[in-house]
Symmetry: C2
């Protein structure tokens, strides 16, 4: 093949999550939506708040050349200022608009941040199980993806294992809390331990290790607090998206924050802007930059997710399934009923249940259920889960 | 520096066009907008059509989870079908939605296409003078940017020079017509000659040479027809954006077309999708995919640009400036009054005139004037142009 083989392979293979979701959509068309229990994709089932619609309608009244024109590459000053002010109120920080670079969503934020940081041959650590696109973006930036398993009991970061995985080539670690796919939230103590490891090992290898904090699920928690990561470790870069918190995944709007407390702030901000330029991101979508400026403090409606979580965990628990109690996000990490998660997935599929096997996330033996679905899907799936369990008895 | 030096450099240097535009904005704040004649950036001065506003307002009434949800990576089927149908009506083609991949604008389209095509060590030819970000995206994809000067009289493609520049490493050539920065439109004969060269030389080097046709200015012409490039050369990939034709540069919406007549269609479509995924583009902004589906056949209002073009060329002509008569786009390519375009730029700047020196576009001795400005800017700039000319007498 004379074209780029990796691009071809990434396009031909698709992400396994998207592939299952596509199967689910086709299957629904075939046998009726109510007969397919599709837990594959993280497409929020909670509608965007009414204030988003109102903001869109207000924006539509602006002069079109003003509304739809190019914005600065980093984003409209008023949108960045609104984000900085909101963060400052919530986390007692003193960020300014010059610390923010608006992006086309979290995928862009992470891809850009990795291209800002890494050089060919560098290593980037991920905590397994992990969002599978991390590996794609890390390798595209020219680095090697190094998997470190989370603590198998608590699914907190195994900081001793991280310390052992760091080599002179380690440039960064990606942390997401609340975690996709497990739903765990890393405690303040866990992050403090990680910071200690990164600082000590960074000194030993002679260059800083950056912490990329991927936080699209920050607002979706069930009674636990998500510590502000830059407060624990100063060389943090935060990647955020409004895909989940404002239910705007298709609109591609998010940001990269290089906190003003990061000792390498200025060069990192330049590198982030340069990476965005290099990859062909000109600016974040202009209309949604304005929507963001108006809706940044809109609370996330998590009641539906909390209700789904309750119904799903209670139902599966009664049937004898084992899972990790999720503290945040909208995923349930369920133990497969046999060691081979793919085989378990195929059996579930025969009952029209569509989870994502854990192999996609870098470890075997589990499946991820996205419960950002209708409540009815959860309730109506229970007989199928029962039959699946019976098949293993 | 332990972070990525190229990303840092691209961010710290900025694009020269954006840098001049930023100076222009600051200078306007200082001495009044009416006293600065900023011809630097291609931000359309013609408002988006009223139908865009109407489409946004209609979309805002859709259920939010439907409106703002993830779309397929290639885009909503109805948006892709609308684009394909429109192309088929205009160019007597038979494209389908499976030939299109919607993107976050032309920059994304070209970046994605290059990452789909090239391998490290490949060469990509550009026709100088050329849009400077081509080099950035070509080098980011791991290839070398090879400049071939346009015919110095006609600014058509010098096909003999292209033939001579092709080596076994040549993977692609980028062509944009109407051309930025000169405004020339390549004739059917010129494209046929180019196709002949690419076919013959491709056979000689033993692998195909792809033609990347970058067409954001297709709709903006002054009495000439823009030939449909895939009809001239079958291994064409078309990159389009609605930034100029619908005046939506900030919204980041465009597409990549792999025509179904391209012999490598299937593998190219996979590679395009894979490249989009690799770089962190999840989907094009969802709301504007829907707007596009409704507004794809909206005619581009070029009257204002035609009027500006007339006023600018007549005014400069009367003052004794030389320029290339633009057939399309909204740029005028004006001969600097001294061989050093940067020195000429500095003298123009002293009279508050802000063109872009031609060195940014890969050749010396000229400046580019974007006449996508208000008519008054053009008229009011004439005394300044006069003083500038007098300085050289």
């Amino acid at each position: 093949m004379s074209i780029n083989e990796k691009s071809y392979a990434f396009g031909a293979a698709k992400s396994s999550i998207r592939e299952i979701a596509a199967y689910g959509a086709a299957r629904k068309a075939e046998i009726g939506a109510e007969n397919v229990f599709d837990f594959s994709i993280g497409n929020p089932s909670v509608p965007a708040p009414e204030s988003v619609r109102a903001a869109i309608e207000r924006c539509a009244q602006l002069p079109p050349t003003e509304l739809h024109g190019y914005t600065p590459a980093a984003g409209l000053p008023q949108a960045r200022k609104a984000v900085a002010d909101s963060l400052n109120r919530r986390f007692s920080t003193s960020y300014g608009l010059e610390d923010l670079y608006l992006t086309c969503g979290a995928a862009a934020s992470i891809s850009i941040t990795l291209h800002a940081l890494v050089n060919p041959g560098d290593e980037v650590i991920v905590i397994a199980p992990y969002f599978p696109e991390y590996r794609v973006w890390i390798e595209t930036a020219g680095a090697t993806c190094v998997e470190v398993m989370a603590d198998p009991e608590t699914f907190q970061i195994d900081t001793a294992a991280v310390a052992a995985a760091i080599t002179p080539a380690t440039k960064a670690i990606i942390v997401d809390s609340p975690n996709n796919p497990v739903g765990s939230v890393y405690s303040a103590q866990n992050l403090a331990d990680l910071a200690q490891v990164l600082t000590t090992r960074g000194e030993e290898i002679g260059h800083p290790i950056y912490l990329v904090s991927d936080e699209p699920y920050r607002e979706i928690t069930y009674g636990v607090e998500v510590p502000w990561v830059p407060a624990a470790y100063e060389r943090t870069i935060v990647c955020y998206s409004y895909s989940k918190s404002l239910s705007l995944p298709g609109e591609r709007i998010g940001w990269v924050l290089v906190p003003n407390t990061n000792p390498d702030h200025d060069e990192l901000m330049f590198a982030v802007a340069g990476a965005g330029r290099k990859l062909g991101f000109v600016c974040a979508p202009a209309l949604f930059q304005r929507v963001l400026a108006e809706c940044v403090d809109e609370p996330t409606d998590i009641d539906a997710y909390a209700r789904n979580r309750e119904a799903l965990t209670r139902g599966l628990s009664e049937l004898g399934y084992e899972y990790i109690e999720p503290q945040g996000a909208f995923y349930l990490w369920v133990k497969a009923l046999e060691p081979d998660a793919e085989a378990f997935f195929r059996k579930a599929k025969a009952f029209e249940i569509l989870p994502v096997p854990s192999d996609s996330f870098g470890c075997g033996g589990w499946v991820r259920l996205g419960y950002c679905v209708s409540y009815d899907t959860i309730v109506n799936s229970m007989p199928a889960w029962k039959k699946l369990m019976e098949q293993y008895r």
